[in-house]
């Protein structure tokens, strides 16, 4: 048991080092165009967003449509700090990150508590509502720049200084994966699988629902801060219902409850629009079809029929051709 774990850990460390080296190479050598290279940060941001959303959708089993709202709260908090104070990067950025994460987490609590008694459809709609409320309020307030948003945000986390983003991507994946394979993670998953039985074995559902919301929101907030300091501009409209859906598509495509899947899907779906630059309208259509197709495939019995069809083909082969 322990040897397997050690092997696993070593493999993971090697993988992390190799990816870092690969990304460094891409950045410094300029192999890819500037447009493509600059995608490194959005990829990192989307990975953090997808993995944190997966905690709620895949592991807790609740669909939330307001994830972009948490992202925007983190983004604005961090940006307001770096824009309005004269702090040097070494202090300003970490402060922005912590503040962004914490503020988003606080709102995760604020939203998580009322949402406790709701399930399924209603929970989804309420989170959608909250996302819209957040956007609405950000548009209305003066000090966040209203509809024009904030500009002049110092570009601390562009692809040129991707290291900090990389580190946080790794931290996010690690922490959430650890959480899932722990007693708290089992509690959260048991709520997904059968909340009545979960209560019957002593698990306080409200506590773990809130825990999932707060942790998920925290990371979304961090992602927001990175996003803000990459682009330099923030507008409330960027964090609307559509953004929440984009992240959901990534999670669905990668597989709900599948962290590795979220990472891969985040990479693919961040690169895709760039590769299909001219077909921007087709991208939306593509996302829609992905969502519908994935759901139909996984849930309508089609997958079972296909796997048994494939199995029967294999049997026929060995029966007729054979070894």
């Amino acid at each position: 048991m322990n040897r397997m774990k050690l092997n696993n850990t070593i493999t993971n460390i090697i993988f992390i080092i190799v990816s870092y080296a690969a990304v460094s190479l891409i950045v410094t050598s300029g192999i890819l165009s500037r447009q493509m290279t600059s995608l490194i940060i959005p990829i990192g941001v989307n990975i953090i967003l997808a993995v944190s959303l997966n905690l709620l959708t895949g592991f807790l089993g609740e669909l939330t449509l307001g994830h972009a709202g948490f992202m925007s709260l983190g983004a604005y908090t961090g940006a307001l700090i770096t824009v309005n104070t004269e702090l040097p990067e070494m202090i300003g950025l970490p402060l922005a990150l912590i503040a962004g994460g914490v503020v988003a987490a606080i709102f995760g609590l604020v939203i998580g508590v009322p949402v406790l008694r709701l399930k399924g459809d209603y929970l989804a709609i309420v989170t959608l509502g909250f996302g819209e409320i957040i956007k609405s309020v950000l548009t209305a307030m003066e000090f966040t720049g209203g509809a024009q948003g904030l500009s002049g945000i110092p570009k601390y986390t562009t692809y040129k200084n991707f290291t900090i983003v990389f580190i946080f991507v790794v931290i996010t994946i690690l922490l959430i994966k650890n959480l899932v394979y722990s007693r708290h993670g089992r509690a959260i998953c048991s709520i997904r699988d059968n909340y009545i039985a979960s209560e019957a074995v002593g698990i306080k559902i409200s506590k773990y629902k809130i825990m999932a919301f707060v942790i998920s929101a925290f990371f979304a907030g961090i992602a927001g801060v990175f996003n803000a300091h990459n682009i330099g501009i923030l507008k409330p409209d960027n964090f609307d219902y559509n953004k929440s859906i984009e992240i959901l598509v990534i999670v669905v495509l990668g597989g709900m409850g599948n962290i590795k899947g979220s990472v891969i899907a985040a990479v693919v779906l961040t690169l895709l629009p760039e590769l299909l630059r001219d077909a921007d309208n087709f991208r939306m259509l593509f996302y829609a079809i992905v969502l519908i197709a994935m759901m139909l495939f996984n849930n309508s019995g089609l997958r079972e029929r296909m796997t048994s069809w494939i199995k029967s083909k294999k049997q026929v082969k060995t029966a007729t051709g054979g070894e």
Binding site: S182, R183, S190, N194, A197, S198, E199, G202, K204
Partner: protein, 252 residues
């Protein structure tokens, strides 16, 4: 003092009085049966005992302590565990994880420990694995620890539910129709298992059942429920041969 003391228990759903003036007294270590025709309100009683419903009248005391108004998770921690009529396993989790989830309050480590997998994590997880396998062994399920709960055959799913309930270290175990859907062989095996569980885990058992062979075979005491209220209480021999009880089941 009885382990479970219930007096004048009652609840209404809309205009329907589902349970009325229900009394039961279960002694420590007893194997007690709750029987009655379909729709009598037996599962409703279980739901009242476990906090799923809040009674409108009556008292429920476990080891002298009132549990009315407490939530199901609190009641589990106080010492009542249950299984369900329509199996409620954690479908997407393994057999082992189903039991480990129930060990949540028995073996603990902090949230920080969970996030960072600090030292207590490995040690406690090993402890959990051992304890869970120990329980599964009683039910011959340890060899299937890695199987997905939803892939188990029906009979084993029922056993897993009981194993999971036992993992919460209860004082009182409520079994809701544990033999439902089982053939005579499986039922015989179940009877042995239930006796074993009572003896090995030192737990008091209150069970709902329709299978009279099981009821007559292992229950030491019975209460018959009809139309939400107590019809008769006593030893199986007397109760099962009583004219009123037979009428309740078979009609006039």
């Amino acid at each position: 003092m009885a382990l479970l003391e219930v007096k004048n228990l009652g609840i209404s759903f809309g205009g329907l009085r589902a349970v009325d003036d229900f009394n039961i007294s279960v002694e420590q270590g007893q194997l007690y049966g709750l029987i009655g025709p379909n729709g009598a309100g037996k599962t409703t009683v279980f739901n009242l005992l476990t906090g799923v419903y809040r009674p409108s009248d009556g008292i429920i005391k476990l080891a002298g302590r009132s549990i009315i108004g407490k939530t199901p998770d609190e009641i589990c921690q106080i010492g009542i565990a249950r299984t369900f009529q329509n199996i409620r396993l954690f479908k997407k989790m393994s057999v082992l994880d189903n039991v480990k989830a129930a060990l949540h309050h028995q073996i603990k480590y902090s949230l920080v420990g969970s996030l960072l997998h600090l030292p207590p994590y490995s040690q406690k997880e090993t402890e959990m694995n051992e304890k869970a396998l120990e329980i599964l062994q009683v039910f011959d399920l340890d060899s299937e620890a890695g199987t997905l709960a939803s892939n188990l055959p029906y009979g084993k799913q029922r056993k897993l539910e009981i194993a999971r309930a036992l993992a919460t270290n209860p004082k009182l175990l409520l079994l809701d129709e544990p033999a439902a859907g089982m053939n005579p062989n499986e039922t015989g095996e179940l009877m042995e298992t239930i006796r074993l569980v009572r003896n090995k885990f030192e737990v008091t058992i209150l069970l709902i059942e329709h299978d009279m062979k099981l009821v007559a075979g292992i229950c030491e005491y019975l209460t018959v429920l009809n139309f939400g209220t107590e019809l008769l209480t006593g030893e199986p021999e007397a109760v099962l041969n009583d004219a009123k009880v037979i009428t309740a089941y078979l009609g006039e």
